[in-house]
Amino acid sequence: MERTYNNKAWFLVLPVLVLVAFSAIIPLMTVVNYSVQDTFGNNQFFWAGLDWFQDVLESNRFWNALGRNLIFSAIILAIEIPLGIYIALNMPKKGWGVPVCLVLMALPLLIPWNVVGTIWQVFGRVDIGLLGRTLAAAGIDYNYVQDPVDAWLTIIVMDVWHWTSLVVLLCYAGLVSIPDAYYQAARIDGASRWSVFRFIQLPKMGRVLLIAVLLRFMDSFMIYTEPFVVTGGGPGNETTFLSIDLVKMAIGQFDVGPAAAMSLVYFLIVLSLSWVFYTVMTNQGQEKGK
């Protein structure tokens, strides 16, 4: 049998390859390039091996920022997931209240991130902000520019305000898909409100809840815009997360080599955590059957 070879197919995938090359591979290789070289200007580069990676992994600055990231994500999940579930459970299931609640819930999600930052930056100011002045008038010492605790509180409250809606909407979608017969069966069994939540609503929300946890974890772990606008990473370095630190290093100090190494490490952390979540999610899926 004679076979004809036809390489035309390569032309068909070429646009995609070019696109991916420009959007992902070339920038990424630039970063890799910077991360293993040193420069003293004049576009002269010297091989630096893994020195930058060693520097990054040995620097307190990196570990402190990573620690702050993890603490921030943990706090965000601990607040937003239960709060989101609670709100979703108490949202109306039918009637005119449904569209009203859904629109109200969706509103924070529709605001651009830097605008959210600006809103809270102004809102919390002690001289002109509604929140800041009210607290000052009430005799509460609140100043997110100087006090680290206040700065953390501000960005946590801001993130909760901005993103709890997402958890609510996902959970609500899970809740409304539970057939009414489950609740009737539970009533006939005489199951308590807690049992209904624990044995019917929570398992039935399981899938969407995992998605909510994943999304909120990744998002909060990569947070940049809002704290950058509100606190700029301060006071001191108290709210300097990995992303903010990275930008400071790369653009502020123009330490391109260490910054490149750090962004690769950051990228690998995000990638491995995503993989962990993905694995956990799919395993959970298999456990629960089809």
Partner: protein, 360 residues
Amino acid sequence: MLELRNITRTVGAETHIDNVSLRLERGTLNVLLGPTLSGKTSLMRLMAGLDRPTSGSLLFDGVEVTGVPPQKRDVAMVFQQFINYPTMTVYENIASPMRVAGANRQDVDAAVQRAAALMKLTPYLERTPLNLSGGQQQRCALARAIVKNAGLVLLDEPLANLDYKLREELRAELPRIFAATGTIFVYATTEPSEALLLGGNTATLSQGRVTQFGKTIEVFRRPDDLITAQTFSDPPLNTIVMRKAGGQFLLDDGLLFPVPANLGEIVDAAYTIGFQPHHLSLARTSADSVALRASVTAMEITGSESFVHLRYADANWVMLTPGIQSFVVDQQIEVFLDPTLLLVFDGQGRAVTAATRLAA
């Protein structure tokens, strides 16, 4: 005994249940038969206490239970969807009603093992319901109803979502399992054949009203009215409106049936004549059989029977006949009908046969 006295339930402007009175005895199997939205589920929800009647009262063993919430009633219910607690194992699911009731460990274990054996679930006790097939999931839900050992067991189209073979199997087992417990057993279905297979008593429902209640075979054979006869016939009851004059039912084209002798004296007027699809035949079944020429409008063939859709004058009929027939559409065929099998309904849809039977 469960007694419903003039139960009505309205939701907004809609009447879901319209003045229903029923007496269901202990140890009986009662079928609620009616099409979708006829009020079967609404009636069951009222019996379970999930809903409150707008008016009327419910008595259980002579005690008024109208406002009593379901968990305080002696009731178990199985739904059309397969309802089990998703994270609990089959064992825990079956045990759950007894655990809520606070039974001790040995009693629970004994009851669970017994119910699981009855429902052939013993090998699956450690699995969670979502790792079971649909039939096993529903058997798990049925096992939960069994261990509850309730005085009233409500099954709301429990087999509707199961495949044919499993349905046959469970339908045969269910009455036997629950009959032994002396419970009041209520079974809702849309299928007349299922009511006939289950036997017991049947209440036919139409638009929220119980049109007739009695022994299943009696209701099937001697419906009180046209609606009951239509509810209890699948494929649909064949009907034709005819004029009675003297001893005959007449149609303008010359078709005539002698008025069956058991009807006695009835006034000359227009009557609706009804008969089951299997009462039409391709050959004369008795000496009295009347021959008709009808045209074929459609053919449906199952493995062993043929449904021949016919048009006669203004009426559309279905003939159920054995064997595979090969008629073509628009073909004129001769069919036979035994007039002694006719159901006769007056202008208000009341059965004339039933009236005379009661009078006699």
